[in-house]
Symmetry: C2
Subunit: 242 residues, 2 copies
């Protein structure tokens, strides 16, 4: 079962203040790359797994999606999503991804942003997503990159020559990683990038594109602090089709 | 054009003494994983791109391949491959992968071991390999993992707590990496794992399996020094189909 850290008061409070929580998709530096991997959603039925405050659901609706269903394990986030979404085409459902059973062949697009690295039984979740897509349907997601989740001490350090390096270790040792991020004891499920891809393939998906997100030249010019994202990817973005 | 470091005397001398050069596939710890990704080669036509001393070519022949063509840029290695291969089903050809044009629809299996990270124009090489495979043909290769090729200083260090860490940086900065391995000035072409996969997809391949090689429990018990391979993968293994 996925830990619901989002409803821990200190986590929710901290998360609510993040730029991407306040300002939405345009404050997420990976959004342009992720958006470029999406199909045209006009007339499509879309499910967002781990919808948070509903920013993507509202975006999909404005792009002409026929129906959007946002799902999240956090009641606090769903409450705010509902309060800020006036559209009747968007529905929000409380659900734990690992206990969810969606109808077969129900959606043209499944989307998930930065949620799957919390999922313990990913093979089951991928199989469920595959079933709920129509043939030819697309699954586009982001997750924390395995390079980011792997280390025992996940923070940049300086090497002997003063260079910034990411202290990678235990990359192939898959399993829980407990970190203190916004709250103590946040449990992520580390798995290799190969495992993400092989589980998708085993679920029946065809891999269409993989991006290990790094800032564009324009983003770097506007936000020089993003340079460290060139040293090690924090996020992986994947597009797959049923 | 790919650097032919193999015919530099000091490199060839050092390389010739490596366990995998002396003892062949069984001395390559990734071989069991790579072998498990191969199709049955009985009756198949097989091309090995970067065949070195011909160990894989001879193995494929003993497995019943109808025809095996080994290609390499190193004359020294080809000379030894020819001298140690008695089988008329195996032919060796001197070729630079980046200038090679193979006949269309000519092989059931293309194989390449630890050669592609030297290739500068990988998109062209993948397109050439796709063309020379029959429909349904397979392409199985290993390459140095981008985590391994990325760093400015590619060697393990100890962090402040004494833990072994791999000092990853400049992961997303693709391009040449000059290292001193067996000889000075060995030029590898660093690219991200996403780029390897996207170039395959763009060439028309379907990704079937990806492995970021790490030792098995049995290998670790027999060779405890392999534990560092769990901290960061040195090799990526990929199976794709036309």
């Amino acid at each position: 079962m996925t830990q619901n850290i989002y409803d821990t008061p200190e986590f929710f409070d901290g998360y609510s203040r993040m730029a991407r929580s306040v300002h939405g998709l345009d404050a997420a530096p990976e959004w342009p790359a992720l958006q470029a991997m999406l199909p045209d959603v006009r007339g499509s039925r879309v499910v967002d797994l781990g919808c948070g405050f509903g920013w993507f659901c509202r975006w999909a609706q404005t792009q002409g999606a026929a129906e959007v269903v946002g799902m999240d394990v956090s009641q606090n986030m769903l409450d705010r999503a509902r309060a800020t979404t006036p559209s009747p085409q968007v529905a929000y459902v409380h659900a734990d991804l690992e206990r969810l059973h969606l109808p077969w062949g129900r959606f043209e697009l499944a989307y998930s942003s930065l949620a799957l690295h919390y999922v313990e039984h990913l093979a089951d979740v991928f199989a469920m997503i595959h079933r709920t897509l129509v043939p030819g349907g697309r699954f586009v997601f982001s997750a924390e990159h395995p390079i980011y989740t792997a280390p025992a001490q996940p923070g940049f350090v300086q090497d002997a020559t003063g260079q910034r390096v990411w202290p990678l270790n235990q990359y192939s040792l898959e399993g829980p990683r407990t970190t203190d991020w916004l709250a103590k004891g946040v449990i992520k499920r580390h798995r290799t990038l190969a495992t993400y891809l092989n589980l998708l393939i085993q679920a029946g998906f065809t891999i269409r594109q993989v991006e290990e997100w790094a800032p564009s030249a324009e983003q770097l010019a506007a936000q020089p602090a993003l340079a460290e994202e060139q040293d090690r990817p924090m996020m992986v973005l994947v597009s797959a089709s049923r």
